[in-house]
Symmetry: C2
Subunit: 499 residues, 2 copies
């Protein structure tokens, strides 16, 4: 059995790799399991070195990797070259976050006459299964956010390769393994497996302690259900897709043409294959937003080519289903017909069609969006309440104070993991304050983030040591603070580490 | 339909309350839902005042409450009086933790040429359903850790009363509601409902954002499954029971009689109805531990009276099942026969009987324990690996260095949420460093704790605000830091708040 990738522009075969069989999987799992204690015993500073080395190695092969990726994804050389750089930046960032050490949450309570001495510290959970995304073959794939955060937190990683870019995946894995080996990381720290069944077996494997997934709702929920049927249930951090709504205020509508151009630029990024794609624009009645977006789309004239034939078919099916659900086509750029090409489209619907259970409330992956007009703030608030929760939501406002804005920011913060003002949600910076994860069903664990410093928290579990001799504690928990970590001692946070 | 509580000492009826019907539940939920935004808008300092007022009110009624509780639980006046004091302390502690403000994790990234301005802050999830425990009618019940942590985090609470102490529950609720009203808290901030079906309906209610449960594995997993079948799945933080193992090292065995007496004191606390009860002692071969524990049990001569008839029956059934699974009865204090009385017992089994699937690896709630002898470190390590994960685990060591101890502490830290040395796991201090939650199946969310400062984290969800005007942000996220919170700004932790 093999896994094959295709050139989305032509449909021709690019790469074929063997599926990972049960015996190889067992050996990969045994290796990861064996590596777990030694990873847990390394200092964050050491793991930081590993991640920086992986980043350097990626950048060294930037052009080669971007070229490979373009053949398998058709996302374009410029975007892909930039994505390699971004991914290297992410690897370094998570390494730096680990070395800073706050993620360990070292908390020390000295004994008192009524309470024992307690030291609480976050410990790595163990081997993590990472299911990379198709739409970001670097940043959310083999060496993407999940892998970087799990390794940074001290967990071995087993990646289930995305079938759309298996050639690129195996090359990235090779580069990463060489870099890790050169740094002296244990062989089981990182591995890649291929095939559908192996993904299921991975989630069922007793050696696996957590799962990180980026992709469709169907895929994420399937893994979540499998994990929930294990004897020892493990967390599944699934970052899935929903419709990210953007609201244009009445004051903001003065700039409707500029907003429309920005909207088109955002929802056609990566051929509309972003989990943060703005899929719904709620504009004030009479703003002419739908026509403005249609005009901007025609001017932009994108020619989407999807990652897989399945996605291309789903765009066409989704478009049809939305029309059936009451939406009207305002502009369509037809598919070129070659390879996995798909149409781009703007639809308009009466806002009352956004009813519970309607297809219009669900994501259509690809360059397809819906515009609805609202009559007043009350109607707008009711509609927002009815939307599925999302990873991100946006508001476009006028200059200065905007009477609608504060209420919209507040309401949307209850429905999304990130709220943007006058910016499109498609850019997701990897920084300390990022939150890339929203309420169910956009994410299976809404308090978790797959991008940003808090991403490490997904892969650790706190342990409290009660009245344990100092030299029997792991180094991060010891009184002398050998790793110079930020700590909370007797309730007081010490940002600067004690030497 | 009514819910009735009984005097465990006699089996006589103590209190009867009406089950909460669907209409009353709907109104309770509507109230909680309506209160959620106003709770979210209060400052942590204001909620601290509410919690301190609840604590004061509890203490004002300490004797009355302890007397009520003793009739419904038979846990004894001294223990129950102390538990009221502890519960008041907990309420104050969670209020103080909220006011300190670290739980909000305010993180600010100023804009850079390549990244937008981002402010990340934890926001209250909304109404929380709390399923209190029977075995701690104060500390883990109506106004216990879960309720205190949820209110401290800014979430309205709806408690599903434990049927074993409905009279006490309603009185505690009355006291709490008066205290909250006097502080000006919104009416929907706190409510109690009664009945089995209402508990199921509560977990299914769209208004409920999270569930906290303390109790049996069967009960916790049932709620977890119901929540997983919702359209919008919500987190269920179930703190359930497992066997908390304690290992006696060869050096520690020099004190076997003292350890045996301590063991009996610990496993008979609350008539063996602690989720942290040490249920298994692994002692070195030839230490005579089982006989020593038997002697100590006979000397202590406890007369366990269980919280419910069901628990009393389960003790007898569990004891029988353990004997059937290969354990031998070393000492038994027979049940007095009155009310919900139950036996206390020490069993011994060959360590090889601790096999996957054996009843001996499961909890027997009540004053029933198992002692096994290990031949060497290798056999001991293999057996520990086979145990279910637990809330806590302990090691009893000799004086000075103990060659077995460091390895045992390390191994047990992978199997439990808390590891104690030379202390029994039954005491759970509410402090900053506490961790009361272990790997599955002892807890449904192993990274969460139901006791200690980190308990608030269960009821908040991070939101990132991107390029949002300062005055449109919630107060905790504003640049001026009006609540003087610890923050991380541009990656640097500022422990002392900026004025």
């Amino acid at each position: 059995m093999t896994v094959t990738s295709f050139d989305p522009r032509t449909g021709g075969v690019v790469a074929t790799v063997a599926e990972t069989g049960p015996e190889l999987l067992a050996s990969v799992l045994a290796s990861a399991d064996a590596a777990a204690p030694s990873l847990a015993a390394t200092s964050p500073a050491e793991r930081r070195r590993w991640l920086h080395a992986m980043a350097d190695a990626l950048e060294l092969h930037r052009d080669e990797l971007a070229t490979l990726a373009d053949r398998e994804t058709a996302l374009g050389l410029e975007r892909l070259t930039g994505e390699v750089t971004r991914t290297a930046g992410q690897l370094r960032f998570y390494g730096d976050v680990a070395a800073e050490g706050s993620y360990l949450e070292v908390t020390i309570d000295d004994p008192t006459p009524t309470t024992p001495g307690l030291v609480r510290v976050n410990r790595p959970m163990g081997p993590v299964a990472v299911f990379g995304a198709g739409n970001f073959p670097f940043a959310f794939s083999v060496l993407g956010n999940d892998t970087a955060a799990a390794l940074a937190a001290g967990c071995p990683v087993v990646v289930k390769a995305h079938p759309a870019h298996v050639g690129l995946t195996m090359r990235q894995a090779e580069i990463a393994q060489e870099a890790l080996a050169a740094q002296g990381a244990p062989p089981g720290a990182f591995a890649v497996v291929n095939g559908h069944q192996v993904g299921v077996d991975l989630v069922r494997a007793p050696e696996i302690a957590a799962v990180a997934f980026t992709g469709s709702q169907a895929g994420g929920l399937a893994l979540w259900r499998i994990a929930n049927e294990r004897e020892v249930v493990i967390p599944v951090y699934a970052e899935m897709g929903t419709v990210n709504p953007v609201v244009l205020t009445r004051a903001g509508a003065a700039d409707v043409d500029a907003v429309a151009r920005g909207f088109v630029g955002s929802f056609t990024l990566g051929h509309g294959q972003f989990c943060t794609k703005p899929g719904l624009l709620l504009a004030p009645a009479g703003s002419g937003a739908a026509d403005a977006v249609a005009t901007a789309l025609r001017a932009s004239a994108p020619t989407p080519v999807m990652l897989t034939r399945g996605i291309a078919d789903a765009v066409v099916a989704g478009l049809g289903a939305m029309v059936e659900a009451g939406a009207e086509l305002v502009a369509e750029i037809p598919s070129s017909g070659a390879g996995w090409a798909a149409p781009a489209a703007v639809l308009r619907a009466d806002i009352t069609a956004l009813r519970h259970g309607s297809r219009l409330l669900e994501e259509c992956f690809g360059a397809v969006v819906l515009v609805c007009e609202y009559d007043d703030d009350r109607q707008l608030a009711e509609v927002i309440e009815r939307l599925q929760s999302s990873l991100a939501a946006g508001v476009f406002v006028g200059t200065g104070a905007d009477e609608q804005a504060p209420g919209l920011v507040a309401q949307l913060s209850g429905k999304a993991g990130r709220v943007t003002v006058n910016e499109w949600p498609t850019g997701v910076a990897f920084t300390w304050a990022q939150q890339h994860g929203g309420p169910w069903p956009s994410t299976s664990v809404p308090s978790a983030t797959s991008v940003g410093a808090h991403g490490l928290a997904r892969f650790v579990r706190p342990v409290a040591y009660q009245s344990v001799r100092d030299d029997w504690l792991p180094p991060e928990a010891r009184a002398a603070n050998p790793w110079r970590l930020p700590r909370r001692v007797n309730g007081r946070l010490a940002a600067t580490s004690t030497p």
